[in-house]
């Protein structure tokens, strides 16, 4: 990590030069000032309060911006270079602030208690800042430390914003509703599912939201535009944080965490912006402190580090997301193609259970009411029977620290599609369960593998809580719009099902500018 390297360097330097009133830099500043005809910046000592505030802020940012849990490093050093996907990039940039305690209650996952770690870390920074104040009574100003902590915060925030933006710029986080979803009542979905889907409905809007995160990220990479980028990032992530609370979407804390970092970076120039814009007073001194690298090798090293990390986390990461998106590794969408020519919504014209004809009845717990073949290998149908809801509503960043207990509340700690794919197993029973996640159980979603020679479908329930349900159904298509399924259902009863395709049109798909009048 560039930031870590930079930090090590500045630590080294700080030991040697921190109390020497920055002679080299002061001289450089004077020279620059002479060129620009501006008065020399008053390098006056900071007030004790300013120094204390700086020390606390410095430690807080330091704790927040360095990954502090072993899993991060296990993952980083366990990367298999031949099998890297966009998920590996995302795990690096989407790490959480230190997880001192993990509260497993509802409130701890979705509510205010989820902020406990941000507060505890701040308390630690206050304690650290006070101790520092006791130990260091000489330093008049902290320009150099302030500079480097902003470097750390800037890059941490920039790569994070860009990573989050990329999963929308290549729409994967929010995807277009599946056919099953189009045929599910609004109220049968969890709020997070509704929130994510209402974005996914518009491909263009999803990409726009991606760039609303990427652009602040890019601005943060350049130190002259960083304040603008940080302010934008703070506004955007603050809104994300509030929306996450409104819809229990689970990533309120990472969003707030980003907003805190953005605010910290923008804060640096806020007093002067206030003076210029609100108080309408001229800014006579706008130069900032920059470190000077007299040695050529140091300058080269700095450039090399910068280019390497920017290359990895911007164009390379974007290329990986693009590759995944265009090559069947959209983490919310299954990639196994469905049976040919069957995509569509079907009425269940006839249903026999153990050779007994069962009439259509919305109250029946076994008799299918409709059936849907997706474009990929999923068959879903509606029955009047509940299920334990699968909470895989999209992949969100980790709540680390062995969050196994957390599974029932918020199954987010999953990159299993990737893991399954790496093991050359079918990925579609992994995280791509998005289509069943956060939905009421009366629409059953089955993954299937098709034997097109023997005309047999081997079905498995996609809901993680019911993954023991399997069916083996023979299929035939007497006419192009009719499918007949026969075989054993998940209760090992024999069924005979006649499906007839409907030509249903969806207002959501046709849109308001459609010429179709009746639906």
């Amino acid at each position: 990590m560039k930031v870590v390297a930079g930090l090590l360097k500045f630590k080294h330097m700080s030991n040697t030069t921190i109390n020497l009133a920055l002679p080299a830099e002061a001289k450089a500043l004077k020279q620059q000032a002479a060129i620009n005809g501006a008065p020399v910046s008053p390098l006056a000592p900071w007030t004790p309060a300013a120094k204390l505030a700086f020390r606390i802020g410095f430690l807080y940012m330091l704790f927040l911006c360095i990954p502090t849990y072993p899993k991060f490093y296990e993952h980083l050093f366990g990367l298999q270079w031949g099998k890297i996907t966009y998920h590996d990039f995302q795990s690096v940039v989407a790490f959480w602030p230190p997880q001192i305690i993990l509260i497993e209650s509802e409130e701890g996952v979705f509510g205010l208690l989820n902020y406990i770690n941000l507060i505890l870390v701040f308390a630690a920074a206050v304690v650290g800042g006070l101790i520092w104040t006791l130990l260091d009574k000489k330093t008049p100003r902290y320009d150099k430390l302030y500079y480097w902590i902003r470097v750390l915060a800037r890059y941490r925030l920039a790569y994070g914003m860009i990573g989050w933006g990329l999963k929308k710029a290549f729409p994967m986080q929010m995807v277009y509703p599946t056919m099953g979803m189009l045929n599910t009542p609004f109220v049968d979905m969890a709020e997070k599912k509704l929130y994510w889907s209402h974005v996914g409905v518009s491909f263009g809007y999803t990409i726009f939201l991606g760039f609303a995160e990427i652009i602040p990220g890019l601005l943060l990479l350049h130190r002259k535009t960083a304040v603008l980028g940080a302010a934008l990032a703070a506004v955007v992530t603050f809104n994300i944080c509030i929306a996450n609370h409104a819809y229990d979407a689970g990533v309120a804390v990472p969003a707030a965490y980003f907003a805190i970092i953005g605010t910290y970076i923008a804060w640096f120039e806020l007093p002067k912006i206030w003076k210029l814009v609100v108080q309408e007073k001229d800014i006579t001194w706008a130069k900032r402190y920059y470190p000077v690298f007299p040695q050529r090798w140091k300058r080269n090293l700095r450039t090399a580090i910068k280019i390497t990390f920017n290359f990895i986390f911007v164009p390379l990461a974007a290329a990986m997301w693009a590759y995944g998106f265009f090559n069947g590794n959209n983490y919310n969408i299954p990639s196994t193609p469905g049976l040919e020519e069957v995509k569509g919504t079907y009425n269940v014209t006839e249903f026999r259970l153990n050779n007994k004809w069962v009439p259509f009845n919305p109250g029946d717990s076994i008799r299918w009411q409709d059936a849907i073949f997706e474009n990929w290998s999923t068959l879903s149908y509606k029955v009047n029977r509940g299920a334990i809801a699968d909470r895989m509503i999209g992949y969100s960043p980790l709540r680390v620290k062995d969050d196994k207990k957390n599974n029932k509340l918020n199954q987010v700690n999953t990159q299993d599609s990737d893991q399954l794919a790496k093991q050359k197993k079918n990925r579609d029973l992994g995280v791509t369960r998005w289509e069943v996640g956060g939905m009421a159980g009366d629409r059953r979603y089955f993954f299937y593998t098709a034997d097109t020679v023997k005309k047999v479908l081997y079905l498995q329930n996609k809901n993680k809580n019911h993954d023991d349900e399997t069916q083996v159904l023979h299929y035939s298509m007497p006419t192009p719009n009719r499918i007949i399924l026969t075989g054993l259902n998940e209760f090992r009863d024999s069924i005979y099902v006649v499906l007839d395709r409907t030509d249903k049109k969806y207002p959501l798909v046709e849109g308001r500018q459609t010429t179709i009048k009746a639906f």
Binding site: P185, F186, K224, T284, A286, P507, R512
Partner: protein, 475 residues
């Protein structure tokens, strides 16, 4: 226009404009020296000056028709809402396309007029080198116009009127049966507190624009939050593309003032001059005008806040007001359905057989039946006195048929009429009996004058949206 144009050759317009202009110039403090502009800046300013004033000050009669049409004794917030966002319509907006580039036709005309005006102005006045003072006044006009629009949109969100909570029938409608714009509204509608928060941000932005010194921050908020709304309008066909784009356009124009100084200071790290045109309101008439404007704005805020709060608490305009049949609210399974003495079994394909029925809290009854719905393409935005005309609940979605009913609780009859503008001819006349808490029996004549007998059984179900929010749940 400028001092160089002699009075002999002055047009009536100039003779009128001259004194106004010299009055406006009086805000200049002694010692202020405005810097000269580039020639292109002068021309661009003339263009935008005409363009914005043309759109903001309504020169078409339709505005005044609306204005005179207002019943001030029974003022509705929606009257103020429509007036505050009014832009000059050279061609009536309803005659233009509702979506896409065509909605901007009036802007196109304004651009042509402004271009011609700029050419004329430039020809008449060849000496003027800067418009610092007029620029200040243009910004004043734009700030107030934008602030007023944001106040109105802010309060209808702060009190969640714009996107009301979805009705029970809406909740029971399949996701695919909605137009995208309605999905957007419903998704915001299920989080009223979030909607209030968004409204609060808009009101905050309005007040930041109200104070000259905080305009920059107001513009920042607009870019961060309300810019989003403009993009949503474009992608979801919400139908407010002009207003939302106008907000972003004006905000961008206001931000142009800040770009050079922020660039100087933040990016180039150069000494930067603050705004030097600090207006001086010692001129009596100007001072009176300013005080009047300020008070008017604040009164508008108070009045609008009161009116929207009143509407929200007493009679939210997008929701029907007549209470529904007592204790009938709920979703019902159609257990039995007899049409002209023939019992029709459960079916989701039969065009006559009802599948389920919903009684809303208000006097709306909705039926799910396999018969196409001609969608109401409007936004359900109009204010209607009568409940049958309050169409927000059925605007932009299919899936169910929406009936308004008059209940006669003495004779136990319901007179139903389809609320949908395309199906208004459908009328049903039904007798109801309520043998127990969970059963309603309907007898009577349907829209085709066939006799029907319907037995409804209340469905008590738990829903993912409420139960599955946070807890593990079997549903």
């Amino acid at each position: 226009m400028s001092e160089s144009v002699s009075f002999q050759s002055a047009t009536p317009f100039e003779r009128w404009f001259q004194p106004v202009n010299s009055r406006l110039q009086k805000i200049v403090q002694p010692g202020y020296k405005g810097k000269e502009w580039k020639a292109a800046e002068v021309i661009l300013f003339r263009f935008f000056f005409i363009f914005f004033l043309l759109l903001i000050f309504p020169v078409d009669w339709k505005f005044y028709r609306e204005l005179w049409g207002i019943n001030w004794a029974h003022l509705h917030f929606h009257d103020l809402f429509r007036l505050s966002k009014y832009q000059t319509q050279f061609i009536a907006q309803e005659k233009l396309p509702a979506y896409g580039v065509g909605v901007f036709t009036n802007w196109g005309i304004a651009i042509l007029v402004a271009a011609a005006g700029t050419a004329l102005w430039t020809k008449l006045d060849k000496t003027k080198k800067e418009y610092n003072v007029l620029y200040y006044w243009l910004r004043v006009v734009l700030r107030y116009k934008l602030a007023i629009i944001l106040i109105t949109y802010g309060f209808i969100k702060l009190f969640p009127l714009q996107m009301p909570y979805p009705s029970l029938s809406n909740l029971q409608t399949n996701y695919g049966d909605y137009f995208p714009w309605k999905i957007y509204f419903q998704t915001t509608g299920i989080a009223p507190k979030y909607q209030s928060f968004l409204g609060f941000v808009e009101i905050l932005a309005a007040f930041l624009l109200f104070y000259r010194k905080t305009v920059t921050f107001g513009v920042g908020l607009i870019f961060g939050f309300i810019g989003n709304v403009a993009v949503v309008n474009a992608f979801y066909d919400v139908g407010e593309l002009i207003t939302s784009t106008f907000i972003v356009l004006v905000a961008s124009f206001l931000f142009i003032y800040d770009i050079p100084r922020l660039w100087h200071f933040l990016v180039q790290e150069l000494p930067t001059k603050a705004n030097k045109l600090v207006p001086n309101f010692s001129d009596k008439k100007l001072k009176t005008a300013r005080t009047t404007l300020r008070v008017a704005f604040l009164l508008f805020v108070v009045l609008f806040a009161y009116k929207t709060f009143d509407n929200y608490t007493n009679d939210p305009y997008k929701v029907p007001k007549t209470a529904g049949l007592h204790d009938s609210y709920g979703l019902y399974n159609v257990k039995e359905f007899i049409l002209n003495n023939d019992t029709i079994p459960y079916s989701n394909t039969d065009p006559n057989r009802w599948q389920d029925v919903i009684f809303e809290k208000w006097s709306t009854l909705t039926i799910k039946v396999n018969r196409p719905v001609k969608i109401d393409f409007s936004s359900g935005e109009k204010v209607a006195e009568k409940d049958i005309d309050r169409n927000y609940e059925l605007a932009g979605l299919a899936g169910r048929h929406y009936f308004y009913y008059d209940a006669d609780t003495v004779n136990h009859t319901l007179a139903l009429q389809n609320k949908n503008i395309h199906h208004r001819n459908e009328k049903l006349s039904l007798q109801y009996t309520i043998p127990n808490d969970s059963t309603i029996i309907l007898n009577g004549i349907n829209e085709n004058s066939d006799s029907i007998h319907v037995v409804l059984n209340r469905i008590n179900k738990k829903y993912m949206m409420f139960e599955g929010r946070r807890r593990p749940v079997k549903i």
